[in-house]
């Protein structure tokens, strides 16, 4: 039965569909795995064992009665605790939502349920998705399964660790500035950020509205693509949702054919700050792609160097407004309501008690960037820089089909190492920020171990709405490396 936890989603779905194994057995195996390792990994904030088994039973019933099943029916999944699920605790990694059970489901959750995916529980994250290490969670950090003293990345660290630790074959994260891709890279798995607007944000507790996007994690590119196709698609409840049909990401992942592609290497995403091991693995991966018939072209995107500045003005600005609703009046934490204090004071005290330091910092920063007299220089200017970054991407598409870079400049750092140095922490997102600001799709795929024997990822970026292209290239990289390694990178991890 322990083989069940090492199987891919595709394999599990097939075995359930042809009754080799029941969905309940699969779910139980994963619940057992969580009990076995999560005390050390701390990926999960809430495990919904009863709910998961009930969902699994429903799938088995459908199988037994011969109903047509979706391609992921019965496959377990870990859900980042930033998506609402009716009646299930949803904290967004914050004390201010401790105990809150939403009265409605996120669209992503609805789609997962309709596809028969079994949601095992809610995973740990940096508070309100603000962070790159999951150390900003109010519920303790998650530990990287490769080395428990290391960060699993953030803000979707819990989801990435769950997949990396074989607690679930699939997970959902959210990516605002790199929060799926960077955790995927440092935990040695696959993670993708869809085109902005491809996946509904209804039910996604908002951090930065013009950047947030939910996306898939898995151990293989094919599994990731399948999950992507289940959750993506137009939602009338989200005004920013794209109406165009979801590209054939699964087909692209399967074909993995890059023989006629022109692949651009972003010049600005290398050099100082990039660990030699990371750069070396990246260069080797580039050669692999060349060997598969792709044309490799050096591309300069000068505006990318301003991405960090623009992002750390836009995101805090939007979040300072999005988080205003946490005021102790309608839901969530309320402190110091002794009948004497005014509503204003209760708000102030509750927000002070309920938000962690990084969240407070970003709210203050965002309030500043939007305030009168500063708007033009900060938020206004940042939105213009966003246009320049977009123009760099569009100029690139004239000569290449996709752009690639390392996913993050370093291997996973130690827990506690950067937590008091916000700017050092922010630099983990250097490679992922440009495509977030542009809104295009991007994926991280494992390409090997760095000098500290810890995972390194390669990022593929594509034009807006060309999500299939990132899966095509990632598939090609995975295929080539699978031949070298005889399996997945994860096979090289020390078992927990």
């Amino acid at each position: 039965m322990s083989d069940l936890i090492h199987a891919s989603a595709v394999e599990l779905a097939a075995q359930i569909a042809n009754k080799t194994v029941s969905a309940v057995e699969v779910t139980q195996a994963h619940l057992d795995r969580i009990v076995e390792v999560d005390g050390r990994v701390n990926a999960f904030l809430h495990v919904d064992g009863d709910g998961a088994l009930e969902q699994a039973r429903a799938v088995d019933h459908a199988v037994a009665s011969g109903q047509a099943l979706s391609p992921l029916a019965g496959v377990p999944l870990a859900l980042k605790d930033v998506l609402t699920q009716t009646g299930v605790p949803t904290t967004a990694g914050s004390k201010i939502l401790e105990g809150w059970r939403p009265p409605y489901d996120a669209t992503v959750v609805e789609r997962l349920r309709n596809a028969g995916v079994v949601i095992l529980g809610k995973t740990n994250m940096d508070e309100f998705a603000m962070g790159s290490s999951t150390e900003n969670s109010a519920y303790g950090p998650t530990h990287n399964p490769w080395d428990l003293d290391r960060i699993p990345g953030g803000s979707s660290g819990g989801s990435a660790a769950a997949v990396s630790a074989y607690e679930a074959p699939l997970a959902i994260g959210t990516d605002t500035g790199g929060s799926i891709r960077q955790p995927a890279a440092v935990t040695g798995i696959v993670g993708a950020k869809p085109t902005y607007g491809a996946v509904s944000r209804y039910g996604l507790v908002a951090f930065s509205s013009s950047l947030d996007q939910a996306g898939p994690f898995a151990r293989t590119v094919a599994d990731t693509a399948l999950l992507h196709s289940v959750i993506a698609g137009h939602d009338p409840r989200d005004s920013t949702s794209i109406k165009e049909p979801v590209p054939d990401v699964v087909g692209a992942a399967m074909s993995a054919d890059v023989s006629k592609m022109r692949i651009g290497v972003v010049r600005e995403l290398s050099g100082e700050g990039y660990q030699p091991g990371v750069q070396a693995r990246f260069d080797e991966a580039v050669e692999l792609l060349r060997a598969q018939g792709a044309e490799i072209i050096d591309i300069s995107c000068p505006s990318f160097t301003y991405a960090l500045g623009a992002y750390y003005l836009i995101a805090p600005s939007e979040c300072s407004s999005n988080l205003a609703r946490f005021d102790a009046m309608r839901f969530g934490l309320r402190t110091d309501d002794n009948g004497e204090l005014s509503a204003e004071d209760v708000m102030r005290h509750t927000r002070a008690a309920g938000f962690g330091p990084e969240v407070k910092r970003r709210i203050i920063l965002g309030t500043y960037a939007l305030s009168s007299g500063y708007y033009d220089a900060y938020y206004g200017q940042a939105q213009k820089v966003r246009t320049l970054i977009t123009r760099d991407f569009e100029a690139a598409w004239a000569s290449v089909d996709v752009l690639i870079s390392p996913t993050t400049p370093t291997e996973p750092f130690r827990i506690g190492e950067r937590v008091n140095d916000p700017v050092a922490m922010y630099k983990a997102d250097l490679c992922t920020l440009p495509s977030s600001l542009y809104g295009g799709p991007a994926i991280s795929v494992p390409i090997g171990l760095g000098d500290e024997n810890l995972p390194v990822g390669l990022q593929v970026m594509a034009p807006v709405m060309a999500d299939d292209q990132v899966y095509r290239v990632a598939g090609a990289v995975e295929k080539a490396l699978a031949q070298q390694w005889g399996g997945l990178l994860l096979d090289q991890a020390v078992a927990l």
Partner: protein, 98 residues
């Protein structure tokens, strides 16, 4: 872009309805100063005639029809309120006029 002082942080915290301790006021002033310096690079960019981008995919006119759809069950809403009375949310006394 000027340095951000402890008093600036106090004013912003007040606008954002977050009570900060004296320690926090000073710490954040220092940290925000560092962050602002890091983001200051964007002011180098000559962008006078560059239009801002607010949305990745330029869509307009997303509307819904004026039809009524089901509301939430009141109990499901008030059960999670910090305080409720007579079908309403109970909040401490409000000082500011509306």
């Amino acid at each position: 872009m000027s340095a951000i002082s402890r008093d600036d942080v106090a004013h912003l915290a007040s606008l954002a309805r977050i009570e900060l301790t004296e320690q926090e006021l000073n710490d954040y002033a220092g940290q925000l100063d560092v962050i602002l310096t890091a983001v200051a690079s964007i002011s180098e960019v000559a962008a006078d005639d560059i239009p801002p981008t607010t949305h990745a995919v330029p869509v307009v006119n997303v509307f819904r029809d004026d039809v009524v759809t089901p509301s939430l069950d009141r109990d499901s809403v008030l059960d999670h309120a910090p305080a409720a009375e007579d079908g309403r949310f109970r909040v401490p006394r409000i000082l500011d006029e509306e």
